[in-house]
């Protein structure tokens, strides 16, 4: 059945256009707002959809008057460290589950699935108490330790799928040649699963950048804050919202994630869909 140009407009371009407008408008609005001088921002007289007198003042203020750079650095450190921990631990869980029949494997899989389904709000009260008792409050260690609990199950699940794609003949051949299990894993399996680690890593990295609740509770000092917590706690003073700076922070905070994502869209989509399609 062929569809004429009119049908195609109705079935494709119109719904797609509306979806894209709905999706992208908040980002446009962030950018436009961050470039407006205050008198334009808070005026009811000028047409608000475009910038009449663009200025970088909000960005300059953000860098000179707040600790935005420090928050960005903290966010980066935390995301990299928790992603690294999650990839290592995820692979340690995934490889035996994907490759070796061992007693208790079902129990381990169940534990991973259960952990995956635990939402943070269920655990934040006891965790806050535990972090305090350990003296880890206001340290980046507190979030570097807790973020992997959100990321490991996903990484393990995704990597299991990739480990299964390695032909077992390759592993058998290596073992017959005298390689130990660890050597087989490191020299044969891991190099073949690069794409899996990229997918899991990207996903973990964006999730770690996104996390808010634990960071809000554990990090109360400006020098250890991450971008989301810093923006919410320090660019809103009392009832005063510094909208220009807030929008500049929101845009700049989103850019690193968006850039990394744009390079690895295919890996990201593969990671996103692996669980629901293959599983």
């Amino acid at each position: 059945m062929t569809v004429g140009p009119k049908g195609r407009l109705l079935r494709l371009w119109l719904p797609l256009g509306v979806s894209l407008l709905f999706t992208l408008f908040p980002f446009y609005w962030m950018a436009v707002t961050s470039l407006k001088p205050n008198q334009e921002l808070y005026s009811r007289k000028v047409m608000p959809l475009i910038v009449h007198h663009p200025t970088l003042k909000h960005y300059i203020d953000l860098f000179t008057e707040t600790n935005f750079l420090e928050w960005t650095w903290n966010t980066f450190i935390v995301a990299v460290a928790s992603t690294a921990i999650s990839l290592v631990f995820g692979a340690m869980l995934a490889y035996p589950l994907a490759r070796i029949r061992f007693a208790g494997a079902a129990l381990v899989s169940f534990a991973i699935a259960a952990t995956y389904l635990v939402p943070q709000p269920l655990l934040f009260v006891p965790l806050a108490d535990i972090i305090n008792k350990l003296g880890l409050g206001d340290t980046l260690t507190s979030v570097i330790l807790t973020y992997p609990t959100l990321l490991i199950p996903f990484c393990a699940w995704l990597l299991m799928g990739y480990f299964r794609t390695v032909p077992s003949e390759l592993e058998d051949a290596a073992r017959i040649d005298g390689a130990s299990r660890v050597q087989t894993l490191v020299r044969i399996v891991l190099p073949l699963c690069g794409p899996g680690f990229i997918s899991a890593g990207i996903f973990a990295f964006t999730l770690a950048q996104n996390e808010f609740l634990y960071a809000l509770i554990f990090l109360t000092k400006t020098e250890v804050r991450t971008v989301p917590v810093g923006a919410i706690s320090e660019l809103v003073r009392g009832d005063v919202f510094y909208w220009g700076q807030l929008m500049a922070a929101a845009l700049l905070g989103s850019v690193p994630v968006a850039i990394i994502y744009s390079f690895f869209v295919e890996h990201y989509v593969a990671g996103l869909t692996a669980g629901s399609v293959k599983g």
Partner: protein
């Protein structure tokens, strides 16, 4: 004199214990691999979970020892009108947002499942709300819904649809809930759309051809070919979405803080207010744990309703 001949015979009969060989056994190697991450998760997920149950049975103001009070916190919840408002709000928020995301996501997936230029670009752009840190995009929405300078209000006034000053999007209880749902759908719909699209692409075109030959129209093909094959994927995506919408915190915390007058207060924000704002760790833990039974029931009901039909 038999002793000298015995010694070599013994060593031959029984090879020395080899650590290397012991480690090469499948189960030993597996458990050595999984033990560190399992212990890590047990310490930071398992232990806090049970410690949370223990806390919920205590009267435990912050920075004090606390006393065991049994189920008193849960009984206090039962008699707390705000708690029941929280239950209702959470169900409304989860149900409406999930249905909109499911229907909208499936619709968008069907649209995206056609061949067109710039398809990969469109897919990448549509996923943006899902990957950008939620708090940051929610701040943008807060400005879009600002009481004085909302761009939505401005557009409606400019087109003559409403008169100034226009509605207070986050100040009116019903509008505030509706606004939260819209923002949640904005953020979550791409996940549905892209995941369901991946599912649609696994359906063999031959099935559609066969159905068309049998005289099936567009709707019939959708109803009897697409939907049954998509059921498992829809189930998994929806289950994730329900859990994380039910337990949503950041979006509501940023946009309304649960206000106005608790009209958008949900489990996570209420537990946060009581535990962190009010310093009542025990009561807060009890509110957070109250999420578990309704969530378990919803998942069970979905599993029964949506289980793949046996043939």
């Amino acid at each position: 004199m038999t002793a000298p001949s015995l010694a070599p015979a013994l060593t031959h009969r029984r090879p020395a214990f080899s650590l290397g060989r012991w480690l090469e056994q499948g189960s030993v190697f597996s458990w050595l691999m999984v033990a560190p991450p399992i212990l890590f998760l047990a310490a930071l997920v398992g232990y806090p979970f049970f410690y949370g149950i223990w806390l919920s049975l205590m009267n435990r103001p912050v920075a004090s020892e606390g006393t065991f009070v049994g189920l008193a916190n849960y009984i206090a919840d039962w008699h707390d009108p705000i708690f029941w408002q929280v239950v209702l709000n959470t169900f409304v928020y989860t149900a409406v947002a999930t249905v909109l995301k499911m229907v909208g996501g499936l619709g968008l997936a069907l649209v995206m499942n056609q061949d067109f230029r710039f398809k990969n670009l469109a897919r990448a752009l549509l996923l943006l709300p899902f990957i950008v840190p939620t708090v940051l995009s929610t701040i943008a929405w807060q400005w879009i819904l600002d009481p004085a300078f909302s761009i939505i209000t401005w557009t409606l006034v400019a087109t003559g649809l409403i008169h100034p000053p226009g509605p207070s999007w986050l100040g009116n209880p019903h509008l505030a809930m509706a606004s939260l749902i819209v923002v949640n759908v904005w953020r979550g719909l791409p996940f549905y759309a892209i995941t369901l699209l991946a599912g649609l692409q696994t359906i063999s075109p031959e099935l559609y051809e066969a159905a068309t030959i049998d005289g099936a129209g567009t709707f019939t093909r959708f109803r009897f070919v697409t939907l049954p094959l998509m059921k498992p994927i829809i189930f998994i995506v929806t289950m994730f979405s329900v859990i994380f919408t039910f337990a949503d915190f950041q979006l509501i915390y940023v946009l309304t803080h649960g206000g106005p007058a608790n009209a958008t207060q949900v489990f996570a924000t209420y537990a946060f207010d009581v535990a962190m704002g009010g310093g009542q760790l025990g009561q807060g833990a009890a509110i957070a744990l109250s999420m578990v039974p309704p969530l378990a029931l919803i998942i069970l009901a979905m599993a029964i309703y949506m289980r793949p039909e046996k043939t």
